[in-house]
Symmetry: D2
Amino acid sequence: MNHIGRIFQVNIFGESHGGGVGVVLDGVKPGIMLSEIDFSNDLGRRKSGGLGTTPRIEEDEVIIDSGVFNGYTTGAPICLRFLNKNTRSKDYSNLVKHPRPSHSDWVAKEKYDAFNDYRGGGHFSGRLTLGVVSAGVVAKKILGNVKFETKLINLGGETDPKKFHDLLKKVTEEKDSVGGIVSIKINNVPVGLGEPYFDSLESTISHLLFSIGGVKGVEFGRGFDGVAMKGSEFNDCIVNANGKTITNNNGGINGGISNGNEIFLRVFVKPTPSIGVEQETYDFEKGEVSTLVVEGRHDAAIILRAMVVLESCCAIALADAKLINEALKNN
Amino acid sequence: MNHIGRIFQVNIFGESHGGGVGVVLDGVKPGIMLSEIDFSNDLGRRKSGGLGTTPRIEEDEVIIDSGVFNGYTTGAPICLRFLNKNTRSKDYSNLVKHPRPSHSDWVAKEKYDAFNDYRGGGHFSGRLTLGVVSAGVVAKKILGNVKFETKLINLGGETDPKKFHDLLKKVTEEKDSVGGIVSIKINNVPVGLGEPYFDSLESTISHLLFSIGGVKGVEFGRGFDGVAMKGSEFNDCIVNANGKTITNNNGGINGGISNGNEIFLRVFVKPTPSIGVEQETYDFEKGEVSTLVVEGRHDAAIILRAMVVLESCCAIALADAKLINEALKNN
Amino acid sequence: MNHIGRIFQVNIFGESHGGGVGVVLDGVKPGIMLSEIDFSNDLGRRKSGGLGTTPRIEEDEVIIDSGVFNGYTTGAPICLRFLNKNTRSKDYSNLVKHPRPSHSDWVAKEKYDAFNDYRGGGHFSGRLTLGVVSAGVVAKKILGNVKFETKLINLGGETDPKKFHDLLKKVTEEKDSVGGIVSIKINNVPVGLGEPYFDSLESTISHLLFSIGGVKGVEFGRGFDGVAMKGSEFNDCIVNANGKTITNNNGGINGGISNGNEIFLRVFVKPTPSIGVEQETYDFEKGEVSTLVVEGRHDAAIILRAMVVLESCCAIALADAKLINEALKNN
Amino acid sequence: MNHIGRIFQVNIFGESHGGGVGVVLDGVKPGIMLSEIDFSNDLGRRKSGGLGTTPRIEEDEVIIDSGVFNGYTTGAPICLRFLNKNTRSKDYSNLVKHPRPSHSDWVAKEKYDAFNDYRGGGHFSGRLTLGVVSAGVVAKKILGNVKFETKLINLGGETDPKKFHDLLKKVTEEKDSVGGIVSIKINNVPVGLGEPYFDSLESTISHLLFSIGGVKGVEFGRGFDGVAMKGSEFNDCIVNANGKTITNNNGGINGGISNGNEIFLRVFVKPTPSIGVEQETYDFEKGEVSTLVVEGRHDAAIILRAMVVLESCCAIALADAKLINEALKNN
């Protein structure tokens, strides 16, 4: 369902070609300074227009519809909206008969039947992540001093950032797409966030991350590559009274709970399925496999725009964990 | 918190050295045949005693405390319990002062203060997974014809199963531990399970998986290794009217929704932190780093026993998704 | 928090003097015919303008922002909004220093501190019920053939409807207000809706009703007046194979579950606290009790407009109960 | 469903004739002193044996199965259980064919079909309230200094307590039953508990109260009798800087939020439907109305035992409201 969170609650809505997209946030304390300008940095990081992203530029300005008064949160729900512009619809009905492979087109049609809003991906559109990023902005305010550092560490198999530009150019020319791996480092997280069974920090963070289209892998700390290590190598021994460890194979989380070290995770985003390359896939009208070419402008590397979305997911999970911890800590 | 699920709800409780551990299940339809014998296969797969697991054998028999009458579920909550035996306590207080590295010992003490039940890991004990496996047994009944195939595909860096025995023997002798990677294949899942934002199947499955101690990575379909593939290679083209694809890089899930193909995922479980090898870690009483040797019998490869737990997590998530889908499908 | 429901979920937002008010609905099946015109009847019943209500007429037109395509629900969340017009603010700051007795003014200031949006009641404004009524409209569509009959059976102590007009005229002239008692009859509810502990139908219906400002009593069936009856008199004996009873002292609900007879309840709404009559109440600025006269146009009998809101609450609770029942029934 | 609460969570299970009944509590802070003796007072108030209650005495001793260590809560879930004894079953199957009027017998059979555990009311048994009372005991510890005063103010129409004894004697002899009205006064509740839309204090308190079998009416403050008052009479004017009011027609709650005055409510409990008097009701086996006499020992006035249960419901709702408030207050 389109709702997540126990105290800091996020409720998302909208479609690519409806009136707009947005999010309702609940469980936000009163007294947090908040205005439109606070959103511009993170929304800017999500923007298209650069190499590897669609040239279709969306001017996304947040509308703060409720929950803020005189520049501060009031404690009431915050509704944040974005208008849909530039959606003079081309005809999308072809994608119903001849769905894009690996996209939500077909499963959405099966699940919602003839009633699915298929225009531009409908409710499955990447445009919905405007709400996630906006929620993340408020989450970061709740978190205060927590710092995020989000990097693209692998683009289409390439790990040398100096070569990303050439790769993007090539893939764009081929009308193909690439995925990548993003690393997220989170610092200044206090010890003790996260709940055992079933709300470990890894659980709540991954829950949000995997709800973002294209995310197909999440690993914390050393991750899958740690499989060859023995316990004696993998263990992060504590070296001082603050719980500081030298190694950080556990990514700052033990038993589902933050241990005060850097939280570290990596996220794999698959290559976006919407490509201009010819593909052979089933045509449900013709009743046979036939060639599909998806027209229009695509994101060759949606991961460039997704980075801030993934970071926002982490912030949302941590903000809720922080509020739960405040309710339950021994004092 | 210790509760998960929207319709099929799982509520876990217990500690290693209290009265016992267990689970309360809600949202179970009436009329499902259920008795103690149904649990024996999956509980047996979780048992210790074999090479690579602790020789401390636990005879875990499920007690069906409520929700079953004349051999069938009644529709009321099902309480399943396991008694703690064999827990004549050794003195665990040393682990409070000198916590095991990478274990929950220290974060639990910080979070719950002097009140944490530290005996045998307390509420963080692997013993709690008896409840998860039991919930999984009921979930599988809800799912009916869905089939699970769970395999250990990497043990401590070794991918050849013929060599697992020797590796386990060696690691056990060294009093060290190894982790591994488990693959889970799920077949006969109908098209349409999972909900967009925020309850994609990947989200709900990973949420449960990451709540299990030691899980540090989850990937679906091709996973992280797919990073070098282009969109034109990664896309799973549909070849017939049932949505069948030849490749399955997406692991049977598009847009968070099952597409009717095999659901495929891999889970990384880190080497268990409780080892007999000497480690240098902080002693909070002495106020300095000093040598810790964890006495007692350990699981050299807890992953051998965790496999059925991970499979159960998948079953729980799918059962809830199935019930939600039944409430909401167009009919 | 501003969210309710397990499958049919309602999330409310907005303030009297912000951008607008609205509601996000989740858990709505695809394929339900829905357009703006469907809301006009119930919204009309909530309108002001008649005797006993404020002469400040609000033209409230629903904006369907998402979740509907080609005239049918899509299965995605439905955002329904209402713009705030006519809110050129007078100065409300006096109500912060000198709060209206029995209103939310003072508790909101205590709870949210200086950050409370006090203009026109802010998030506590009756204007928020536009969202409740809109949610009710969709709930009724989910319920299909269920029929509601909502009546004012007591207005300010008067039970003869022929005398309501004169009473309203008198109270309006006095700048005072009256409350009343509303009866709600619900027919065609199938047997079996409602869940034992803790989601009895009485629980979920009353939860929603008591969230509406001014509701101070809810009783089902015979209600408080049944206190003098013995069990042998109160029991509703079944007279046919469909569970039909002659008497209906239980109001159509046994053990928290609908029994197929008419669901019958009564709701007490207190006289609206905002009145033009002089009152002696504490002035927090002056630090003493002093005379307060609330200027402006008031609803002498807000209950006239609240009736459809209360009916909507019942519909919302029943719609969720129906969907849960569909997920869990034995079939 | 059998789960309630956002932070302080209560999950109930069990049946009258299964292994036992109990409750799992989550969201309990570490460091609260708790042992079996803490339960004896409130459990004692629920006991049978006195005039007007069944002579079948149940020795109900709580088993603390988890979440407590060295006499203090640990922060982990608390499982509290009660064994079922003395349940050598008589044959209850007659009640399936010839259900008791106004009882859950028939709706449970319709809802859960042949699988319903009908013995002694099954999951609908009043025995389940042992869990509610136990949860209330812990809730009161969370609430600290909050004081409850619960009184029977009307028994079967009689309001003079001096006459209750004679009434009970008479009704018991007649094998009939009586209901009553309970008043609950709650003091020392801080200002600011409760959340607007949809978790007003009235909402969360009534939700719990109406989940208790037999509760058919709830009113706050002046309640239904206030219908004849005008706004100028009903309003509780504030008289000092602490928000103190002289009158308390609103029962200590404005806008769903506690205002620091005494919380005052009344609850109507219908006469228990299980009586020894002959009744004419439908026999589903015979296919016609016929005479039913329910054999066995009954509670002539279950309300005597229900009083502490109702009080516990209030405590549970307030404890959760307190924890939510701690997470969200401006500080």
